[in-house]
């Protein structure tokens, strides 16, 4: 008999970030289970990007703590968190625009958490899984916007992360690209926990197993997609209907 016990991958305790007087993230408590796809939604300026930036170490927390795989990582610099398996893709596309696609992915693969296969294999694997192997020799900056977003994810994938944080990955993509993107995220989820900030409710409902709603730096609600859809406070603050 096998007991399937939900394991906590990451948790945040009273996590806060103040920009001067502005409480961008305000005493947030948060738990993420290994293997899930979690969506964070909320209106513009709710603090979503700031919150995940605290998790990946791009910003330093004003207060509170972060536990990743039972280890306190609150004080760890971003590069160490990345090596421990937290990958982050920027809301604003941030690639090496003068380098080739392959080189972009190779840079990411160099510090992969899982190095059981050699680097060339990991690069090719990330390109193939992301569906852009034929673009490998293109210069990243010359790619169409949608492909640049996919490259961002491919770079995250090449790090063989335990947790992949995607900040509004579908922003600016066409409907067809969004469908392909959803498949990619499902595939990534076979090997990694995914934390997804997303405005597109179709994508959220399709992918997320649980949803966290943020508003003004706080967690407004959390639950299954169905529960969130029915939640009055969420309707009022965000869904607007």
């Amino acid at each position: 008999m096998v007991w399937v016990v939900a394991m906590t991958l990451l948790s945040a305790r009273r996590l806060s970030k103040y920009f001067g007087g502005l409480r961008a993230v305000d005493e947030v408590n948060f738990e993420l289970e290994t293997g899930e796809i979690r969506a964070i939604i909320g209106p513009n300026g709710a603090g979503k990007t700031t919150f995940v930036s605290l998790l990946c170490g791009r910003l330093e927390a004003t207060d509170g703590s972060i536990i990743f795989e039972n280890q306190d990582i609150t004080g760890l610099p971003a590069f160490k968190r990345a090596r421990q398996g937290i990958a982050y893709t920027f809301q604003i596309t941030s690639i090496y625009s003068k380098l080739s696609v392959r080189e972009n992915v190779a840079i990411a693969a160099q510090n992969a958490t899982d190095k059981s296969r050699d680097a060339a294999y990991r690069v090719q694997d990330a390109l193939t899984r992301s569906g852009i192997p034929e673009l490998a020799d293109e210069i990243a900056g010359s790619l169409a916007y949608g492909h640049q977003r996919v490259l961002e994810v491919a770079m995250g994938l090449a790090m063989s992360p335990k947790l992949l944080i995607l900040d509004e990955p579908t922003q600016g993509l066409s409907d067809m690209e969004i469908e392909q993107f959803c498949e990619l995220v499902s595939d990534i989820n076979n090997t990694a926990t995914v934390l997804l900030i997303e405005h597109n409710m179709h994508v959220v409902m399709k992918l997320a197993q649980r949803i966290t709603v943020m508003d003004r730096g706080r967690v407004l609600a959390e639950g299954l997609p169905e529960e969130i859809r029915r939640n009055d406070a969420v309707q009022a603050a965000y869904l607007g209907s």
């Binding site: 791009r58 610099p77 990345a82 982050y88 941030s94 690639i95 090496y96 190779a106 840079i107 510090n111």
Partner: protein, 319 residues
């Protein structure tokens, strides 16, 4: 080995072999010029690791050159140490100075980094002038006869002999060129380029960018110091003019001209600039003006330097 790699090895080894053969044909004057060019190219190659590959513009590399020069020169002059030992002291001074400067200056980026390195270099210059009792400041020191002869690998060598100097300079160039070539083609080189292109992203991809920048600054400073140490011992003279701002700007010009972020670029740039100034100074006293104009034209039309343009157009494999 990929064919690109083979081509690249062939090219660089070819340049070194060409330089070796050249010494048998060069007239005396040019023989000496090429010796100087090779030493200065080592300086520029060190500079280029930091500027061309990592994107950090130091305006104070003269201090590293001077650290090598004075480390070697002072120990040969005052302590009477042998040439190889003095050379090692010069290199050690480069390591120590670049480590110390790196720990401080790398807390800044961009323009602030340029200013901080410039200021430290001024401090180095003023320090040399201040301790004039030992350094004789601007007037400088001429190396004693004892520092002109030495034994290397059981071979009695004399630095008064032009052929010896030429081949020692070539040896240093070859060692530095091979090291830089290996360095920039590996994982470390990739991380340098990543920092140059997008440091914020690079941090998020698991790179300790501060440590990488510190390492490359130490390598860069040490290579520059080896050039300074070689210069002091081979040409038997050290003086504070080698620590002035001009010696910080020169490697930048050489690198821009030849092609930043290429292994051979700094060498090519040094050779061209050296002869450009050499030739124009025969015709006009305003030779620096001519050199400046040529440089402006080159930078306008070949923003990536000569080798950078060649690489873009024909040879993508050029490292």
């Amino acid at each position: 080995m990929s064919s690109e790699q083979a081509k690249s090895i062939f090219l660089h080894a070819g340049v070194l072999a060409g330089l070796f053969l050249l010494q048998f044909f060069l007239p005396e004057y040019h023989h000496l010029s090429v010796t100087r060019i090779m030493l200065l190219a080592v300086f520029a190659m060190g500079f280029n690791l930091l500027f061309g590959y990592t994107g950090l513009l130091s305006l104070g590399h003269a201090m590293f050159f001077a650290a090598g020069m004075y480390g070697a020169g002072l120990s040969a002059y005052h302590l009477g140490w042998s040439v190889p030992l003095s050379f090692m002291v010069g290199i050690a001074c480069g390591v120590v100075l670049s480590l110390a400067i790196g720990l401080i200056a790398l807390r800044t980026t961009g323009v602030a980094f340029m200013i901080v390195t410039l200021m430290f270099s001024q401090v180095a210059y003023l320090t040399i002038v201040y301790f004039t009792t030992y350094t004789r400041g601007d007037e400088g020191l001429v190396m004693p006869e004892s520092a002109r002869q030495f034994v290397l690998f059981g071979q009695q060598l004399s630095l008064t002999h032009p052929g010896t100097r030429y081949n020692l300079a070539l040896m240093l160039l070859a060692i530095v060129m091979a090291s830089v070539w290996l360095l920039v083609r590996g994982d470390f080189g990739r991380s340098l380029i990543a920092i140059r292109e997008n440091e914020a992203r690079t941090k998020m991809l698991g790179y300790n960018t501060f440590l990488i920048k510190l390492k490359v600054l130490v390598v860069s400073g040490t290579i520059s110091a080896s050039s300074g140490a070689g210069y002091a011992l081979m040409f038997a003279y050290i003086g504070s003019s080698f620590a002035t701002i001009q010696y910080s700007i020169d490697p930048l010009l050489y690198t821009l001209l030849g092609g930043a972020g290429t292994v051979l670029g700094p060498f090519l740039g040094t050779a061209l600039m050296f002869y450009l100034i050499d030739i124009t100074s025969e015709y006009t006293s305003a030779y620096l003006l001519v050199a400046g104009i040529v440089l402006v034209i080159l930078v306008l039309f070949f923003p990536r330097g000569l080798l950078g343009a060649v690489r873009n157009r024909w040879f993508g494999w050029l490292p």
